[in-house]
Chain length 138, copies 3
Amino acid sequence: MHNLSIQSVRTSERNQLVEVTSAIERVVREAKLADGMVIVHVPHTTAAVTINENADPDVKHDLLRKLSELAPHHESYYQHGEGNSDSHVKTSLVGPGITVLVEGGRLMLGRWQGIYFCEFDGPRNREMWVKVVEFESP
Amino acid sequence: MHNLSIQSVRTSERNQLVEVTSAIERVVREAKLADGMVIVHVPHTTAAVTINENADPDVKHDLLRKLSELAPHHESYYQHGEGNSDSHVKTSLVGPGITVLVEGGRLMLGRWQGIYFCEFDGPRNREMWVKVVEFESP
Amino acid sequence: MHNLSIQSVRTSERNQLVEVTSAIERVVREAKLADGMVIVHVPHTTAAVTINENADPDVKHDLLRKLSELAPHHESYYQHGEGNSDSHVKTSLVGPGITVLVEGGRLMLGRWQGIYFCEFDGPRNREMWVKVVEFESP
């Protein structure tokens, strides 16, 4: 069994981490996936997906602040005319996809791990593709 | 069905992004893969693979320029004798592999997404491993 | 066939790269996996996994040193109270998981590639989840 679900993500800031763990858990539940994997793909070039702490929101602040320090909005040498070269850089640093295991119907994340849609050029209406794939029984 | 294809990539600069989307699409087509995934692996330690904008070549310039600013060719504290510590750093920042979905024979990328082989210590003759894996029918 | 193995990783430094290639090879061997993939997931938010050079230990030094320069232990703007915002940043830059192919029972890595558990807030007792998944025969 495999199934693709296209999820909408509405962002409200230029740089924003939106937790999507429960949205992905819902896709797994609705697909009745027991043992397999979830492949999450962000089909944009100025947004990404990561896994990080799901407890203290200050972690989100510090991560976004540091990324913006590493890739500031403007650099004298940026040539791309749209003014979002920083967003493209952050996207390649963080990455467009992750694979998460599912065992016994449960998304296999560590205790403090949450999955975050990373907006780097919002606010926008975005998509996140969530593919669930069952593994054949042993 | 699953099949491994070893692709050659010839680079001409020390730092270079080579678009490989159509090469990967050809592997998918020749394998007659309908629904599944493509696992792309770069078997080098000074090269990587990423997904980013496929339209304006200035995005490639800005990304490479920023990566070289974050990890310059030389740092007083680099100890590795080969003089390519920057290449190893970039490789771990960008990552050695990506997984892309295939639905109905089509590589599932967003409208502006292209797949790029990232050369960080060229010019060289490189390899890219492209594994296509079919998912069992629902 | 698919099987999950939970591996323990004991780290001894705050920032440390621990090679885990042979531990993962052992999991593949014990599962008698011929053709498939290994999905490696680090269930922590201050640790990651990467692939880089397995020969000269200076590469590990230079990579860790550069990451600590990009994300120093302390920044005036860090708000997270635990004092490990740098560890969370490094985790999202390097990433929590990798997928490696297995062909004919052999982990498909390039000649100089090794898999490294990346400790960014040790020393600690850590876990690494290693899932082996067989691909159906062509």
